[in-house]
């Protein structure tokens, strides 16, 4: 019954692999970031380009950061669940079980019986999005404030929605738009608008938070120069007001807003996928087949 509480070498290895990608990205940023005086708002840095048939493929900071987050989250999950079995007493196993049970009950409550296998996918979206937004806490570029990254997730969700709408055949899929028939053009527009609005919502929230933070930091710098400018030498240029005050904004924009957007993205994914699926018709089709 009693599992060994010893700190094994494999735990250290997993924690190391959790930290290494983030450290690597930070070091890369330190060595490659162009030196700039003052504060500037820029998009993701482009590291290098790959020539592809139609268009150049840009490997940007956002992609590298999201890969780092993926590796880190994978090893976090491995660390929390390795050696898990019935009757263990390790704290991290209990924690992992709580997370998994909460997610399964959330998916079951929002999507119904048929989609109960979706909880790993929802968990992946939730964790990836939340940890990507939380990357700002270590001073990195958050991948979710790049439209391309979030649009990729939204297109993935759109493909899933369309797949489950197609479950009863193309006729039912086309009919679902013409209900009532006069509204067909609007229904088609709202179908296309689904991934666009999902991507814009997440990207806009994270980006607007970082833009406002930068503007406030810049304003505080100017203000402290105005107030403390009479001090001699180094003290006159030191931005006293920048200490601590931007952190209050960071609590809202980086932590609360980032986690809330991750939750909303996952929630909307669940609602759209289960909402578009014609459950009654599919049941009839299954019973008719038998």
């Amino acid at each position: 019954m009693i599992a060994s509480r010893k700190f094994k070498a494999i735990d250290a290895l997993y924690i190391l692999f959790m930290i290494i990608p983030i450290l690597a990205v930070i070091l890369l940023k330190i060595f490659t970031a162009p030196s700039s005086d003052g504060i500037s708002i820029t998009g993701a840095m482009i590291f290098f380009e790959i020539n592809m048939p139609f268009q150049k493929l840009f490997i940007t900071e956002a992609q590298l950061n999201s890969w780092a987050v993926m590796i880190s989250v994978t090893f976090l999950c491995l660390y929390m669940t390795h050696g898990i079995r019935a009757g263990t007493v390790l704290k991290r196993h209990h924690f992992a079980e709580i997370i998994a049970e909460k997610l399964q009950s959330m998916v079951a409550a929002n999507m119904g019986e048929y989609f109960s296998g979706f909880s790993p996918f929802i968990a992946a979206i939730l964790l990836l999005s939340a940890f990507s937004s939380l990357l700002t806490l270590v001073g990195l570029y958050p991948p979710t404030s790049d439209l391309n990254v979030v649009a990729g997730w939204a297109i993935l969700v759109f493909i899933l929605i369309t797949y489950y709408k197609f479950k009863c055949g193309p006729v039912v899929y086309v009919k679902s738009f013409a209900n009532p028939p006069l509204m067909a053009p609007l229904n088609i527009i709202s179908e296309v608008a689904t991934p666009v609005s999902m991507a814009f919502r997440h990207y806009g929230n994270v980006l607007s938070g970082s833009v406002i933070s930068v503007l406030v930091a810049f304003g505080l710098q100017s203000l402290s120069k105005m107030i403390f400018g009479f001090l001699p030498g180094f003290l006159g240029n030191f931005p006293f007001l920048q200490i601590g005050i931007p952190a209050v904004l960071s609590i809202y924009f980086d932590i609360f807003s980032g986690c809330l957007q991750a939750y909303i993205f996952a929630m909307l994914t669940m609602l759209y996928i289960s909402g578009g699926f014609p459950a009654e018709l599919y049941e009839k089709k299954i019973q008719g087949g038998n």
Partner: protein
């Protein structure tokens, strides 16, 4: 002459970005209404606080969408459009 043209482009982009953000009024009013109603509902039925809060956050997020469209347009007008328009101007001359 070219300087004046570029100046007009930059100024109009900034004006357009400012005008686009007027759309921020709508989500502000809408989310205010949503939160007010949620407070009323919690006051009436305190035991349903969890459900009301999650539903309210979802609704707020969806009501925010129009404001975020305006934000995206404003950001495009500030960071992307001036360079694009100046390039078009120079290539036509």
């Amino acid at each position: 002459m070219l300087e004046i043209a570029i100046g007009i482009i930059l100024g109009c982009c900034a004006l357009g970005a400012g005008a686009a953000m007027i759309a921020g009024i709508g989500p502000g009013i809408g989310e205010g209404n949503a939160v007010a109603k949620a407070c009323e509902a919690i006051g009436r039925q305190p035991e349903s606080k969890g459900d009301v809060t999650t539903t309210m956050l979802m609704g707020c997020a969806i009501a925010e969408t129009t404001g975020l469209y305006a934000l995206v347009i404003a950001i495009l007008l500030i960071f992307v459009a001036p360079g694009l328009f100046v390039d078009i101007l120079i290539s036509t001359i």
